[in-house]
Amino acid sequence: MTTAGGEQSGVDLKRFNEVFFEECAENLAQMEQILISLGDREPDQEQMNAIFRAAHSIKGGAGIFGFDDMTVVTHVMESLLDRLRNHEIVFAPGMIDLFLEAGDAIAMQLAGHRDGKPVHQEAIDQVRARLQQTIDGDTTQAPASPVSQTQTQAPPEGGLPTSYRLAFTPEPEIFMRRVRMESIIAELADLAEAGTFRCEARLAELPDFAGFDPECCITRWEFALVSRATRDQLADVFMFVADEDQLRIEEHPAERRSQVQDPPSEPALPVEGRRAYDRNETAPGAFGRRGGEAESTFRVNVTKVDQLVNQVGELLITQAMLSQVAGGLDPILHQSLQRGLAQLERNTRDLQASVMSIRLVPISIVFNRFPRLVREIAAKLGKQVELKTSGDSTELDRGLIEKISDPLTHLVRNALDHGLESPEKRTATGKNPVGTLQLSASQVGGRIVIDVIDDGAGLPREKILAKATENGITCSETMSDEEVWQLIFAPGFSTASEITDLSGRGVGMDVVLKNVQAIGGRVQIASEVGKGVRVTISLPLTLAILDGLSVAVGGEKFIVPLNVVIESLQPKAEQLKTVNGREVVQVRGEYLPILKLHSIFNLETEVTEPCRGILVLVEADGERGAVMVDALLDEQQVVVKSIETNYRRVEGSAGATILGDGRVALILDLPELFSMHRQL
């Protein structure tokens, strides 16, 4: 149905394009997910319908929004699927890959339209040709089918003309969905034999003038025509427009075709055949334009949500301010005030949680990419892998989702390449030849924990130590396992004996660590020889709020992000040394540079000696140091604010926050502080 193109409708469809792009991406993802889950099995009817539905929605959307090139591949694909579904073509395992490739081609076209990325037309033509080939190759063998090929533009094959009566009762909101009746009528007229098409519009229940809504459809349409087209073809005209209960098609036996099963006297004929999938439609979003869905979800601009999050942040600060003021009042005299404030605190926390939850999306968005990746990599490596995922519905911040997918991909590749052994090796060690890779997500307290677990050979301790020594990374035989595992996060570290195109170039784990730390996360590794490796990523729930340690330096307050803090201590004089005139502190055999915040930030303070202050040991980007502050104040959750909105970047800070007393405090950026310290 390539009817209401952008030019024709006279309405600028551009702003709706984004919706189509999103829907299309969703449909592609859904299709891929189903295809991957099949392995090489033949899809059952339901899965087949779901794939068909996805392809069909893409095609329909592309047509409506005027991306005609995208309809080409989807069209052939749909034809093939249709034949598979009707058992006109025998399923072959190779088709799954073909469909996946077709999906890629469509994704490429989508990217071309959305982001202006280059589109390789040859690749698309190739996929299309192969799909067509599959159809043609099989139809020659398949028994002649009574069902016509639905989407052919040429007049349908020589069925005898039949007289039809159609009644279409649209829902009132039909115009909101940008349905244009004139194009439907034109399409029907094309199917009709010359001179037989008749169309009648009936007004049902005309409301009084006050209740009249021009956007509301109160018309009921009746069509009569003689056509060679099958009933299904007529139903197809209404594919995106009508639910089955809104369309009634009657075949009149006046002419031939007396083999009709349903007598015409039966009033509501169900639409048969290819529209069956509509009946058991369960997948949400498959027909995104359906009216009923509008109530359950709707799309909101992200900036609006961010604004809401900001405003709730303000509310939290105000509430903290009030609590602080009230703390100084006599609790007996101001009992009701205190009670009210406690209530306010509860309410603001609840509100904050609800608002934050708007930004949350299920991690399945990331997990869903992996089945295909695992399948492809495993095939390339000749390994047998079963991918298990759990906690798919665990939710985390949208912003985090985008940033966690690369590190996770890295970890999955690593696990497949280095972790899991080849089937022969596994059998030799008495393991199941099929390796298991498990992705699981869960929420633990205020953090999201993602595990990547493989049941492979485990990390080779000796090899890592040897490699570390070779690369000049400080290490020793006496290190604990945990410390040894941390070595693989060092830049340039790789134990893979040979470099594959999957991993082994040594840009793996340090990038993972850096990316995870950039979003306030931590990475932990547990490994057991012969049993496998578990990499655990723990992330904050959201980027907008940060767990911080507030510290005081010379009358100013700073926030140290809690995820970089190891411990804090008050050093003894004998722990302090100088190296090249720079002060260091010795903590358990390690010498850490002392970063004096007051000298980095040019602040005046009475505490200039490390013995009188407190050292906060931090680790960021693999670098350790001791930040010297006057005092530790509090551990608190802070709302991250940008300084750059109204000012330039401030060196050594990763943003700012507003404290309970209304003052601004800078959040420290440790990697930058380290480099500032070196320049001092």
């Binding site: 303000e314 980095i600 930030f601 604010k641 109204n646 000012y647 330039r648 209304g662 003052r663 800078l666």
Partner: protein
């Protein structure tokens, strides 16, 4: 482009019969800025210092949840005495998409200046560089120095806008 845009806005300003200015004092001199650029006026308190910034950047404040930098024009232009007490005034201005607070000695009035009363600025006379002065106005026999606050805030001198942005701006001007 930037320049032509500024020129045209100046021309518009000239074309109007009268514009309103917020007048303030720095030391013994009276200055005026376009009232439309002013967001609000507030007192000076709770400024968080920022390290390694020039002395006239006093730091940042929390303006109802927005972090706003504070510039003390008295220090920048070496006029008056940079003292801070309960009567110290901060003018919050909104230019170039940024909200910035400027500390002045005092805010006097809002005046409407007819176009013909604004004279071009001579090369000398004010503590402020002539580049940032759009003209001199006369009000009750008192001279008013009219400041192009947008140009001043966007200038390299104040270092409020990031240097990257500065570069692009100067490139445009060069062209």
């Amino acid at each position: 482009m930037q320049q032509t845009a500024q020129n045209s806005s100046e021309q518009q300003g000239v074309a109007q019969a009268a514009s309103e200015y917020l007048t303030f004092t720095l030391g013994s001199e009276s200055y005026g800025i376009d009232i439309l650029k002013v967001q609000e006026i507030r007192g000076y308190d709770c400024v968080t210092r920022i390290a390694n910034t020039p002395p006239f950047i006093k730091g940042v404040i929390n303006l109802r949840g927005v972090i706003v930098p504070i510039v003390d024009l008295r220090i920048k232009f070496n006029v008056g005495e940079a003292t801070y007490h309960e009567f110290t005034v901060v003018i919050i201005i909104n230019v170039l998409g940024k909200v910035v607070g400027i500390v002045v000695d005092g805010v006097s009035d809002v005046v409407a200046l007819p176009r013909e009363s604004i004279k071009p600025a001579p090369e000398l006379g004010a503590s402020l560089d002539t580049r940032y002065i759009t003209g001199l106005g006369t009000l009750n026999d008192q001279m008013l120095i009219l400041v192009d606050i947008e140009k001043l805030i966007g200038s390299d001198e104040l270092q409020i806008v990031d240097s990257a942005a500065d570069n692009s701006q100067s490139e445009v001007v060069n062209q």
